[in-house]
């Protein structure tokens, strides 16, 4: 609540004071972005975790103490090192086939991050292209594209993914394709909405009047101004991609054994809840941390890129 102001009674100076101090050059957009982005701790933490995850995925061969699919017959269901009967040889214990869980999680980071990246890139490229076309040309093309997206949104996301996997057959790549298709409508809708808003702006008219081709208008004039929400969606899309891929793996419809995929590692975990809690706990923790990191980053990006929230 602001206290009542007294401006009304203030004497307005008669001579206009001209501010002659030179104004600072506006900060570079990236510098400005970082200033907004780094005011909150959450997104920075998310970013740090993501960098660590990427490094783990890149250097999995060096970091993992064991090959991910190596079965140690003398160590079935060995507990983690701090638990009774555990040894530092298998830091997070082994699964029912005697494979080192930590090594599988480390290699799993490679699977989840690379497939997640593939999914988001494909969904983003195709989605933005379709959204641009729909928003730019309107009419029949737009109706066709948007009604198709409505149909895809009418199905619960995981169910649509399952249907696609049922058609294509269960495999990691097919699951990835399914998740691409599931994510597509969000990118299309966002881009179309942004394009339609931008198309009515004066700068677009100006560009059009000065003879810019449709192609130039679309890609060089309009597209860059529509990207902020798309970037946010891409970050959040990464987290749902990791989640959906893991869920499909868990249902046996994604990565197939022995691929060290986090969801697939949990596929038969239910039978171990009684005797080997570590088999159940750690792969899921890896999923949670990854998804959380991308959600933190996405939230931060949304705040930093949304001009309405800027002070």
């Amino acid at each position: 609540m602001t206290p009542p102001t007294e401006t009304a009674t203030e004497v307005v100076p008669t001579t206009e004071v001209v501010d002659t101090t030179p104004t600072e050059a506006p900060p570079h957009p990236i510098v400005e972005f970082w200033r907004y982005f780094s005011t909150n701790r959450g997104p920075v933490i998310g970013l740090v975790i993501i960098v660590i995850l990427v490094l783990v995925a890149l250097f999995a061969d060096v970091l993992a103490l064991h090959p991910p699919n190596e079965q140690y017959r003398e160590a079935f269901l060995a507990p983690p090192f701090w638990a009774e009967g555990g040894s530092t040889r298998f830091l997070l214990g082994t699964d029912d086939l005697g494979r080192d869980i930590l090594s599988r999680i480390i290699f799993g980071a490679r699977v989840s991050l690379s497939i997640g990246f593939l999914v988001v890139t494909l969904a983003l490229t195709v989605g933005v292209a379709l959204g641009l076309i729909a928003g730019f040309f309107r009419g029949v093309i737009e109706t066709g594209i948007m009604r198709t997206m409505d149909v895809m949104l009418a199905l619960p996301s995981l169910l649509l993914a399952i249907v696609i996997v049922a058609i294509l057959g269960p495999s990691l790549l097919n699951a990835a394709m399914a998740v691409v298709i599931v994510q597509l409508p969000h990118f299309v809708r966002l881009t179309r909405a942004a394009v339609i808003t931008e198309m009515s702006r004066d700068y677009v008219t100006a560009s059009r009047v000065s003879g810019a081709s449709a192609f130039r208008l679309m890609l060089i004039t309009v597209l860059p101004n529509c990207l902020a929400p798309v970037i946010v969606q891409a970050t959040l899309g990464f987290s749902t991609a990791v989640l959906d891929l893991a869920a499909l793996g868990f249902l046996g419809m994604g990565a197939q054994p022995p691929t060290p995929e986090w969801g697939t590692m949990l596929a038969n975990a239910l039978q171990f809840v009684q005797r080997a809690w570590w088999v159940v706990t750690f792969p899921g923790l890896a999923i949670l941390i990854t998804v959380l990191a991308f959600n933190l980053l996405g939230d931060g990006l949304r705040d930093a890129l949304d001009p309405k929230l800027k002070r």
């Binding site: 009418a154 868990f250 969801g263 949990l266 239910l270 809840v273 949670l288």
Partner: protein, 336 residues
């Protein structure tokens, strides 16, 4: 108002047609001969093959095949399961109440906890409570629910032994299905302990399924509440000297809840996607588990019919929410 409702319904029709096209295509897109798929691994002799082809109308042109499919669908004939030979619609109807019961309990759990958390977080903005709640909410929102369900089983069923691991009711009880909702049926049956058994079976799946909606509702309530609390009419209400509780509970909350109501309505799709995983883990005999099994058994008529029915239910609920939203908020109703 009637024009608004009719317009909304008209908008749903093309989507429904699109979904029927998708489910129609589903069985034809699967690689391989549909009849051999239907016959399963045992194979089929050529005579029966031709007979089935004619019976299923697969020898007709694709457009008339679709025509037949649509008229079958509209008359309630969704084919029969390959495995059980029961009509798909009957199977769906017998399993649907279990899913609805689970989803309703999950969303009630999410509302009962999410809305108060969101309100307190907004009112105490910037406090430790606010940060903790929003941190927990974001974690809940990021939770792989199949893993969360496993953790709940690990803690409450295995370590503490409080709840059973799977199913809807202990085998000790036999309860006649009246409404299909186990909580109501066990109460009606009057059997001692049956209701407690039903509750103990329901509680973990409902928590697992309700966690993500809870997180979404808490975050939504907080941000919507913060927005409303900055409005002039709240300042007026405070300036009038109303009790803070009255300002928050009456003036702010009523307006803050409008977007929350939409979120709750639109959570149906999310709940169903979650139900697929939750039901599979807790062996809950509902539609989600049924569909997962249909994929595993390559029971394509069940998948085809089930997908269409689920999509129809989701669309109907979304339509209902849309209309309801128009009733609460006249601005939506008069939008062009």
């Amino acid at each position: 108002m009637l024009a608004f409702i009719l317009k909304r319904i008209a908008l749903v029709i093309p989507t429904f047609i699109g979904v029927t096209l998708l489910t129609f295509a589903l069985i034809r897109l699967v690689p391989g001969d549909p009849i051999e798929l239907l016959a399963g691994e045992r194979g089929i002799d050529p005579e029966r093959h031709a007979a089935l082809r004619a019976e299923l109308g697969l020898d007709k042109p694709i457009v008339s095949q679709y025509g037949i499919y649509i008229s079958d669908v509209l008359s309630g004939d969704l084919g029969r399961s390959i495995v059980t030979k029961t009509p798909v619609l009957d199977e769906f109807l017998s399993l649907f109440p279990a899913t609805v019961e689970l989803a309703l309990c999950a969303i009630l759990f999410a509302i009962a906890i999410g809305i108060p958390l969101g309100i307190f977080a907004a009112v105490k903005r910037g406090s430790v409570f606010d940060y903790t709640t929003m941190g927990v909410a974001l974690t809940g929102y990021s939770m792989p629910i199949f893993w969360w369900a496993l953790l709940l089983i690990l803690l409450f069923s295995v370590q503490l032994g409080w709840t059973p691991v799977s199913g809807r009711l202990s085998v000790m009880y036999y309860v006649e299905s009246v409404t299909g909702f186990m909580l109501i049926d066990t109460l009606l049956s009057g059997e001692k302990g049956a209701f407690q058994s039903a509750v103990s079976h329901l509680i973990l799946p409902a928590i697992a399924l309700g966690t993500i909606p809870l997180a979404v509702i808490a975050r939504m309530t907080r941000s919507s509440m913060l927005e409303v609390l900055g409005e002039d009419y709240i300042r007026t209400a405070r300036a009038k000297g109303l009790a803070p509780f009255r300002v928050i509970a009456l003036h702010a909350l009523r307006n803050a809840l409008i977007p929350v109501v939409t979120v709750i309505g639109l959570a149906v799709g999310v709940l169903f996607a979650g139900a697929i995983l939750t039901e599979t883990i807790f062996a809950w005999p509902g539609v989600g588990k049924w569909l997962v099994e249909s994929v595993r058994r390559r029971d394509y008529p069940v998948l085809q019919g089930g997908v269409l029915l689920v999509a129809t239910v989701v669309m109907a609920v979304n339509l209902f929410v849309d209309i309801l939203y128009g009733l609460i908020n006249p601005r939506i109703r008069h939008q062009r």
